[in-house]
Amino acid sequence: MDAANYLYLAALLFTIGAVGVVVRRNAIVVFMCIELMLNAANLAFVTFSRINGDLNGQVVAFFTMVVAACEVVVGLAIIVTIYRSRRSASVDDASLLKR
């Protein structure tokens, strides 16, 4: 099996995540889709590391994981804060600047 198959899978997962970010309205689901995109990028990094035969790609994937963890912590705190004031986790309801 060609290692490039993993890259196709990563591209597919990234696309699915991107659609999720655009289509879904629940902020938590949108967040999970962002996580999916980050994970797809990680899979591509790991695969490229294997194709090129050095570990740099894996180190970058490791850094991505740390950044993703930070992003989840802050993002979920923001969602909770918004939920506390607006009683809703929908991204459409936070439209105060529009009016």
């Binding site: 099996m1 290692a3 198959n5 993993y6 890259l7 899978l9 591209a11 597919l12 997962l13 990234f14 696309t15 699915i16 995540g17 991107a18 659609v19 999720g20 289509v23 879904r24 309205r25 629940n26 938590i28 689901v29 999970m32 889709c33 996580e35 999916l36 994970n39 990680n42 899979l43 790991v46 695969t47 590391s49 294997r50 194709i51 090129n52 035969g53 050095d54 570990l55 740099n56 894996q58 180190v59 994937a61 490791f62 850094f63 994981m65 740390v66 950044v67 963890a69 930070c70 992003e71 989840v72 912590v73 802050v74 979920l76 705190a77 909770v80 804060t81 986790a89 929908s90 459409d92």
Partner: protein, 263 residues
Amino acid sequence: MVDLALAVGQTQTPEAVMFWILAPLTVAAALGMLLVKKAVHSAILMASVMINLAFFYIAQDALFLGIVQIVVYTGAVMMLFLFILMLVGVDSSDSLTETITGLRPIAITAAVGFGGLMVSLLGRATLGRGAVGLESANSNGNVKGLAKLLFSTYVWPFEVVSALLITAALGAMVLAHHQRIQTRPTQRQLSTQRFRGKSLANAAGLPGPGVFARHNAVDVPALLPDGTPAQNSINATLEARGDMLNSGVFELGKVDTSAGEEK
């Protein structure tokens, strides 16, 4: 399991079998994440995607990342997601109506275009050689190889990332901090309020929920002696969520008390 995973990474056919079993499952779970209505179901599907990805990492000689994927993502991150879901309300299902007209067809068209572009690019790109594999890079063990890079070439990004982690933790604490507008009432004040208030109706405590032992769950208000439901016997949260049953259906006259029903 680790031995098995390493063996899978080194031989070609078992890896292909694993890939062709797990990859469709992963894509199906990711698609399901988009399509299911409830956020909790999305979270479960997300967890399964992440576990599958961990298998892929381990199959590709990234043992450390595979374990970290399970510990950090399926362990910590999904845990956090579920925790926030519980906080926000488990049954907060998405309204699947389009708020922006034509968003969904546009999104799907764009996604098909983008995905097609990526896949065709990958299909056309040629490296001029096959995959090198990580046998030589991992000769001292994957963890040792990563540690060597992390603490030599990447030591500065590593330190920056640690600063980022601390900042994120502080930021989350600041965001989640909730300042009280009034001071918390003391027990003395509460007691005074209870007995010197407008009425003594609730001086002995609020009534408990449930009716006639027919339905003593917390979602049915208790009946007062005159047959009216006692609204304050229900938790305010249940009332706000609309999870309250009508106590009328449990009124004595409407309940079938014939002996046959007991069986």
